[in-house]
Symmetry: C2
Subunit: 527 residues, 2 copies
C-alpha cells in the first residue's frame, strides 16, 4: 500500500474530473491555483508563494470517461478551522463544471485541532448501557400532531425498549412551544426509563435564528436532555461543531440539504467524505444517511463507504455511529443486521409506527428481531457521562476562585491604571482599577472601579454597550440623556447604548464607583 500524502503532513484531495482527457492535467492545475491564489499561473512568480501556497499536483490518472487528480495543499492554509478548510478544498472549484471531491485525507496535525465526536460510539453505549447490538431509533412525527400524542409516542417507544427517539427535522417551534413540546416528550421518556431501568435517549431538533440558539441550548442543558438533532448543512458545519462542543451534547447529524452535494457523480462531494469524514470532524456522534434501496438514491457501496469513514481510525477522534434511515422495513432487519453489523443505529420512522397500532409492541417487535442476530449485553446505564469539555469552552484562561480584599479603595493584586490608554478623549483626575474580567475570569462582563478627584471628570462619550454604575464613595454627578443627577453611595445608574454621558466630581472628596460593562464591547467615541 502506498504511503498517503496526508502522512507527509499535507492535505490530500482527490478530484474526479469530467473533461476532455487531454485537458485533465490543465484542469488539475487550474484547480490548484484557483483554490489557493486565485490567479492565473503566469501571474504567480514569488517562489515562497509557489512553494507554500499554491496547491501541488500529486498525480493525474485518466480513464475513459473521467480523470482522477490528486492535489495536495499546505494545511496551514486552512488555519485549523472547518470553514476555511471547505473554502480551500472546494470553495471556487465547486463552481467548475465536472469537478467532484471523491476523497479527502487530512494530516494528523490538522485533525488534532478538532475535538470530533464528544461521546462517540463508546460514550453513547456507556450512557445507554447497551452493547454488542445495533441501536434502534425512531422519530416523533408528524408535525401538526397534538402535543400529548407526540409525548405518548416518545414514551411508548422508550417502554418498548427503543434506544433513541428523536424529533423529526420538520419539528420546529418558538422557544416557548419548544419547551412545552420537548419537555413533555422528555418527561414521557424519563418516566418510561424510571419504570424500565433503561436509559432511552431523547434528542430534540434545534433550528432557530442564530442569535436565538443559545436559549434553546440553555434550556436543553437545564432540563438534562443529553443530545440534539442538528442539520449541519442547514445551520453551517462549523456552527453545529461549535454548539455540540460548547454544550457538551450528543450530536445526531441530519443530512438535510446534502443531496445537492452527493447526488450527482459529476459535481459536489461524495457521500463518505461529506457525511463521513466532514460530519465526524464537526462532532457528529451519529450521522444519519439514507439507506440504500429506500426512497432515496444511495447505493449499498456508498452506504458502506460512509460507515467506514465514521469508524476508521482518524487521528484519535472518537468514532461515530452510522445511522441508515429512510424506508427501512421490518423485513429488512436481517439484511440490515448483516450489512451494518453491531455498530449502527437503525433509524426507522414510518414503517415502525405503521407496524402495529400499539407502538410499544411495534418497538418491541423490531428490537426482538434485531436481537435474533446479536447477543445483546446490557449494563446499568451510566448516570453521568462527562465528555472532555463539560464546561463550555472559552479562549480565555480560566481563573480559579479568588478573593480580593479591599483597603481604602484599593484592592489586593489589582493596580490602579491610567483611565484611558491614550488621550483621544478629554478627561481629568480619574484613576481606574480593572477588578474582574480582565484577569482570566470566565465572565461575560468586566467589573472596574473608578475614582475621580475633586474637580475631575470622565470623558464625554458614547458607545454601543451599556454601563451600570454603582456609586460607593463620595458624591458624584452623572450627566446622561441631557439630564444631570447627583449620585451617592449605593445609588445605581444605567446608561443605555449610544447615550452621551459623563461623570463628574464637583465635591471636595474623591468620588468612587464601580462600573460594570460587557466584556466584549465597542470602543467609546466622542459624541
Amino acid at each position: 500500500m502506498s504511503k498517503s500524502i496526508s502522512d507527509t503532513g499535507r492535505i490530500e484531495v482527490t478530484y474526479r474530473l469530467v473533461c476532455d482527457p487531454h485537458e485533465a492535467e490543465t484542469l488539475a492545475r487550474k484547480i490548484a491555483y484557483e483554490q489557493t491564489v486565485e490567479l492565473p499561473e503566469h501571474m504567480v512568480t514569488d517562489p515562497d508563494v509557489l512553494e507554500l501556497v499554491v496547491g501541488r499536483i500529486e498525480s493525474v490518472t485518466v480513464s475513459d470517461d473521467h480523470a482522477l487528480a490528486s492535489i495536495s495543499f499546505n494545511p496551514e492554509l486552512c488555519n485549523s478551522q472547518l470553514p476555511q478548510l471547505l473554502i480551500l478544498i472546494f470553495g471556487n472549484a465547486s463552481i467548475f463544471p465536472g469537478v467532484r471531491i471523491v476523497d479527502l485525507r487530512l494530516p494528523p496535525g490538522l485533525l488534532s485541532c478538532f475535538n470530533g465526536p464528544g461521546f462517540g460510539i463508546d460514550g453513547l453505549r456507556h450512557l445507554l448501557g447497551v452493547y454488542d447490538r445495533p441501536l434502534l431509533a425512531s422519530a416523533i412525527k408528524p408535525r401538526g400532531a397534538p402535543l400529548d400524542a407526540m409525548a405518548k409516542m416518545a414514551g411508548a417507544f422508550a417502554r418498548g425498549g427503543g434506544d433513541i427517539i428523536k424529533d423529526d427535522q420538520n419539528l420546529v417551534d418558538s422557544l416557548t412551544d419548544f419547551k412545552k413540546r420537548t419537555g413533555a416528550c422528555y418527561d414521557a421518556v424519563r418516566k418510561a426509563n424510571e419504570e424500565s431501568g433503561r436509559n432511552c435517549l431523547y434528542f430534540p431538533h434545534v433550528s432557530a435564528p442564530v442569535q436565538e440558539l443559545e436559549g434553546y441550548f440553555e434550556y436543553i442543558k437545564r432540563v438534562g436532555i443529553k443530545g440534539v438533532l442538528l442539520c449541519p448543512m442547514i445551520l453551517g458545519l462549523d456552527t453545529v461543531r461549535s454548539l455540540a462542543s460548547q454544550y457538551a451534547l450528543i450530536m445526531m447529524a441530519h443530512p438535510a440539504l446534502t443531496g445537492s452535494y452527493t447526488n450527482s457523480t459529476e459535481q459536489g462531494i461524495t457521500h463518505e467524505v461529506l457525511l463521513g469524514t466532514l460530519f465526524r470532524m464537526a462532532g457528529a456522534d451519529i450521522s444519519i444517511f439514507p439507506n440504500y434501496g429506500g426512497r432515496f438514491s444511495f447505493s449499498r457501496t456508498e452506504c458502506n463507504a460512509i460507515c467506514e469513514r465514521l469508524t476508521e481510525p482518524l487521528a484519535g477522534l472518537n468514532t461515530s455511529f452510522p445511522a441508515p434511515a429512510g424506508g427501512m422495513q421490518y423485513d429488512d432487519l436481517p439484511e440490515l443486521c448483516s450489512v451494518y453489523g453491531e455498530d449502527a443505529v437503525f433509524l426507522i420512522g414510518g414503517s415502525l409506527q405503521g407496524h402495529d397500532p400499539d407502538l410499544v409492541a411495534a418497538t418491541r417487535a423490531f428490537q426482538d428481531r434485531i436481537r435474533e442476530y446479536f447477543t445483546e449485553r446490557l449494563e446499568t446505564p451510566a448516570q453521568e457521562f462527562l465528555p472532555a469539555c463539560e464546561i463550555p469552552g472559552s479562549v480565555r484562561a480560566i481563573a480559579q476562585h479568588q478573593l480580593i480584599f479591599c483597603q481604602d479603595y484599593n484592592w489586593e493584586d489589582r493596580e490602579s491604571i491610567a483611565y484611558k490608554p491614550d488621550d483621544e478623549l478629554s478627561f481629568a483626575g480619574v484613576r481606574r482599577i480593572e477588578l474582574m474580567g480582565q484577569h482570566g475570569e470566565k465572565t461575560a462582563f468586566d467589573l472596574r472601579y473608578f475614582e475621580i478627584e475633586p474637580g475631575g471628570y470622565t470623558s464625554l462619550e458614547k458607545h454601543r454597550h451599556a454601563h451600570v454604575v454603582i456609586a460607593v464613595r463620595g458624591i458624584g454627578v452623572i450627566i446622561a440623556c441631557d439630564r444631570c443627577d447627583i449620585i451617592r453611595p449605593m445609588d445605581i445608574a444605567y446608561v443605555a447604548p449610544m447615550e452621551i454621558h459623563q461623570i463628574r466630581n464637583n465635591g471636595s472628596e474623591p468620588f468612587g464607583f464601580f462600573c460594570i460593562v460587557d466584556h466584549d464591547r465597542d470602543r467609546p467615541i466622542a459624541p
Copy 2:
C-alpha cells in the same frame, strides 16, 4: 399574468423533476409529504395535518425530458427563520434523484420577518457618493504576499479611483494577524481616501471558528471598517444573516461552495434562487457570482436571472448589487456595461492587476473605460450611514437611562423578591433584589443585591457560570473551593465555574452583597 400563489399567503416552490412523465405527479406528491410530515400518504389521516401541514400540489406540467411541479407550503411551517425554510423547501427532497428547485416565491408576510440587506444599493451609493454608473471592485491577493504589498495594493486601487477593495476569500488569519493585515489595508485605503476625498470601501474576509467570530467583528467595528466579505454556504446562511445584522456591516456575499447547488440541471437549486433570492434574504448587500463566459460555468441567462432577483421588488427588502466576477477582462467592459447596466459591481481581480504593473494606472484605466458608457454623478460620500439597526439587535426590550436611588439597602422601583423561586435547594433568611439586567437593560450581565439575615445562608450549589460578589454591608463568610473566608464591605470574591459554594452570615447584623452574573446562564444545582 396569473396571480402568484405566494400572493395568497403560501410559500410556492417550483421543482424541476427528471423522471418518467407518468411518475411526475407521484413524485410531486412524494415531495409534498416528505418535506412536511415525512410519512407515506396512507399514514396521514388527521384532517388538520392534511390541511395545515402537508404540502399542496398546485400544478404539475410535463414536457419531454422533465416535469415542473409547483408545490405550496404553509409559511408557518418555517417559523419565520431561514434554517427551517431551507429544511421545508429542500431538506430531504435534495436527496431525491432528479429534483431541483427552479423557483421560490415567498409571501410578503414571511419576507417581512427578514431585514434583508442592511444597506442595499441605495445605502452603498450613499456611502460611496457614486451614482449612475457601475462600481469597480477588486480583490487583494495572492495569499502569501507580504503584508506591505497587500496594503500597497489596497491603497493603489483606492488612489486609482476604485470603489470597493475586498480580501480574497482564501485570506484567513488568526485574530492577531487579521488585525495586522486588515489594519494595514484599511489604513492604506483611508489614507488614499483622505487624499482623494472619495470613500473607497475595504471589506476584509472573515472566516473563523464560530466561537471566535465575535472577536473579529468587534475589531472591525472598533476600527470603523464598514463591510465584510462572507461566504454564506460555508458559514451557514443564517450565520451570515445574523452577523451582518448584529454588527450593522455591509455584507458582500461570496459564492464559495455554491456550485454544488447550481451546476447540475438535475439537482440542487438554480442560480437565481440561491445567489439571488436566498442571499438577499440573508442580507447580502452585494452578491458575487461567476460571470458568463469566464472560467466558470454560468450562462448569460443565469446571470441575468440572478440580477433580476437581487433587484426586483421583494416585500420592502432593500435591493442588492449583483457582482459578476471571474475572468472579466478590460476588453469585456463595454459588453459588461451594456449587459448589467449601472446597478452592478464589476469585481475584477487578476486581469485588472495584470493590466498595468502600476495598479493606480490600471484601476484608472478600467474606471475610465466604464465612464465612457455612463455619466457618473459624484456626491460627497456620507460620513455616517446608519442602517435601521445600528445598535446590535437584542430580543430584549430596550431600557433607557435610569437612576435607581438607594435608601437603606432598598432601591427605588426594585422589589425584594424570594431568594429562590422554589425550595429545591436549602437556604435560610435571604432576600434578593434584581437591580439590573432583568428590566430590559441591554447588558450581558445581571446585577443583583442579596442580603442575608444573621444566621442565614444561601444554598450550597454549583453551576457553570461564574459569580462576582462585592460585599457592601456587614460581615459575611464565603465558602468556596473548600476554603472559608470572611469578607467585609468592598471585598470582592470571584467564584469560578463549577465550584461548590455558599455564603453565610455568622454575624449579628445583616450581611449584604452585590452579585454579578452572566445574563444568560445555567441553573444552579446541588453539589
